[in-house]
């Protein structure tokens, strides 16, 4: 489904490249979790996949098409993402309905049809979240709390069945309770829709509980890739791996 070949990425003013020859292949329907300390390159990896960062060298294939030189908006027809930054995943000034409609149009070309017609459809989708947010459908998004907005952003990212879902620490700005609720919801969505997913997290517990493949990155390289037997790993194993990296 997704194949990365020898990905290099560096930034000006940084001596070492942030990604040093990453090779990775993700199968269709795979839920892959990426761990790594700060600066290990995990977020940069996701951003080179979504197209937010341009590559230095290497190739990216998605659904057997090379997308390495595609601009962000073109890749977004197939890839959807939720970022850590709550303000990025939604438009604060627009209503809940407007945000939802925008996401439901991802990968399609918008037409000259009044978006208000989609109100009922969007309302029932918001209802599925189970947070009672449907009553705010005509309100601007900034009246919602951070957790509510991030939940909406996650719902939006899964709306138009992306080929690849990219989650970049999407629960990390939230309180523990909201965090686990959103993580549970995300896992449900991924499972029900059989979405191919890449998720970066700092939570070792989440990394163990969710997903069927675990990758650890360090200094721009993949240092651990566990597929078989992931369910047998425990936190101590991970801490040991981390310890060995320092």
């Amino acid at each position: 489904m997704l194949r990365l070949e020898n990905i290099y990425k560096s930034f000006p003013h940084h001596f070492e490249p942030i990604l040093k020859g990453i090779n990775l292949e993700i199968q269709e329907g795979e839920f892959c979790v990426i761990l790594g300390s700060n600066g290990s390159g995990k977020s940069s990896l996701l951003k080179t996949i979504t197209g937010e960062y341009a590559l230095d060298s290497g190739k990216i294939f998605l659904a057997s098409q090379e997308i390495s030189s595609w601009p962000l908006y073109k890749r977004a027809k197939m890839i959807s993402s939720v970022a850590q930054d709550i303000t990025k995943g939604t438009v604060q000034e627009m209503t809940l309905l407007e945000n939802m409609v925008l996401s439901s149009l991802r990968g399609k070309s918008g037409v000259l049809r009044f978006y208000h017609n989609k109100k009922d459809e969007m309302e029932s989708l918001i209802q599925e979240l189970g947070l009672g947010l449907e009553k705010y459908i005509m309100q601007p998004l900034h009246i919602l709390s951070g957790g509510q907005r991030q939940s909406i952003a996650t719902l939006m990212a899964t709306l138009s069945d992306p080929l690849l879902l990219v989650l970049d620490e999407h629960t990390s700005a939230l309180d523990p309770k909201t965090q686990s609720h959103l993580m549970e919801y995300t896992a449900q969505k991924v499972k029900n829709k059989k979405l191919t997913t890449l998720m970066v997290t700092h939570h070792l517990k989440d990394a163990l509980r969710y997903g069927d493949r675990l990758i650890i990155m360090n200094r721009g390289e993949i240092v651990l890739d566990v597929k078989e037997g992931k369910e047998n790993l425990c936190i101590d194993d991970l801490l040991q791996k981390y310890g060995a990296l320092e």
């Binding site: 908006y73 925008l102 000259l112």
Partner: protein, 281 residues
């Protein structure tokens, strides 16, 4: 007071013509968050180009239409400079507007051109003229409002609100940016081409400072109506332009010289910016 009342109807007509520009510049300044000064060139290009076409025997409406397209294309040029060559929209607009001056002189071959004997949309019947321009302005605003409420319009609005989000929703912002600049500057040109037919001549100095007048009008309208909804945002330039033109008329009756008005306009804009805390204004 008599002089004010005498000026008022002409002021309404002028205000409506200005309202079209104010509506035009609202698109880059407010909807796209990409302040653009191309309007100055688009206004005069639309005016002079349609004026020349009229003399070549084109019907008044067709001349206006071509004038709009010429102005719109000037806007697309600014958009391309910005998107492709990273020239800021303010600078790009000023440069192109300066270049338009030479184009206009070439087009006319002289600094001004009378078209009194040619066919015109306007009749010297002030009430009828006001009705025509009001119809143009209100229908343009209505079409724009309806567009913004469609799926395409919704996508267009992400440019100004959160462009990264827009791209992540697979929206090609470049083409929407060109569309926005085209429409904005086509409206400025529309206004210019109406103006030549109203006044019966085209002049090389038309349009100098017009975007600043339109901006003042827009800001007055926003102070009165607010910008909470799209309806208010789109009504603001119309109401603002009408009031602005009356303020100018009133200032003249108070004994100010026409040449003092630019100072007045600038002070109005600056005070709105300073007192309302509006940014990038």
């Amino acid at each position: 007071m008599d002089m004010f009342l005498e000026l008022a109807p002409t002021g309404i007509l002028q205000g409506l013509v200005l309202g079209i520009i104010a509506l035009g510049i609202l698109i880059p300044f407010r909807l796209m968050n990409l302040p653009d000064l191309t309007g100055e060139g688009a206004y005069s290009l639309g005016a002079i180009f349609s004026c020349v076409l009229l003399i070549f025997g084109f019907p008044p409406l067709v001349s206006i239409l071509f004038g709009c397209v010429a102005g719109g294309l000037l806007g697309v040029a600014t958009a391309i400079l910005y998107l492709r060559f990273k020239v800021g929209t303010l600078l790009g607009g000023i440069i192109l507007s300066t270049m338009v001056y030479s184009i206009n002189l070439r087009l006319m071959g002289k600094p001004n051109m009378a078209i009194f004997e040619y066919k015109s949309l306007f009749s010297k019947n002030l009430v009828l003229d006001i009705a025509i321009v009001a119809l143009c302005l209100i229908s343009t605003a209505a079409v724009l409002l309806l567009f913004l409420k469609t799926e395409k319009g919704l996508r267009f609005r992400t440019i100004g609100l959160n462009s990264l989000f827009g791209e992540r929703q697979s929206i090609n912002l470049n083409s929407y940016t060109m569309l926005g600049f085209f429409i904005s500057n086509a409206l400025c040109a529309f206004s210019g081409s109406l103006m030549v037919q109203i006044q019966g001549y085209g002049d090389i100095n038309m349009g100098i400072g017009i975007v600043i007048h339109a901006l003042a009008a827009l800001m007055i309208g926003e102070v009165i109506l607010g910008t909470q909804s799209l309806q208010r945002q789109l009504a603001a330039p119309i109401l603002g332009a009408l009031i602005y033109q009356q303020i100018q008329g009133f200032a003249l009756t108070l004994g100010l010289a026409p040449s003092d008005l630019k100072f007045l306009t600038g002070s109005m804009i600056l005070s709105v910016i300073v007192f309302s805390g509006k940014k990038n204004a």
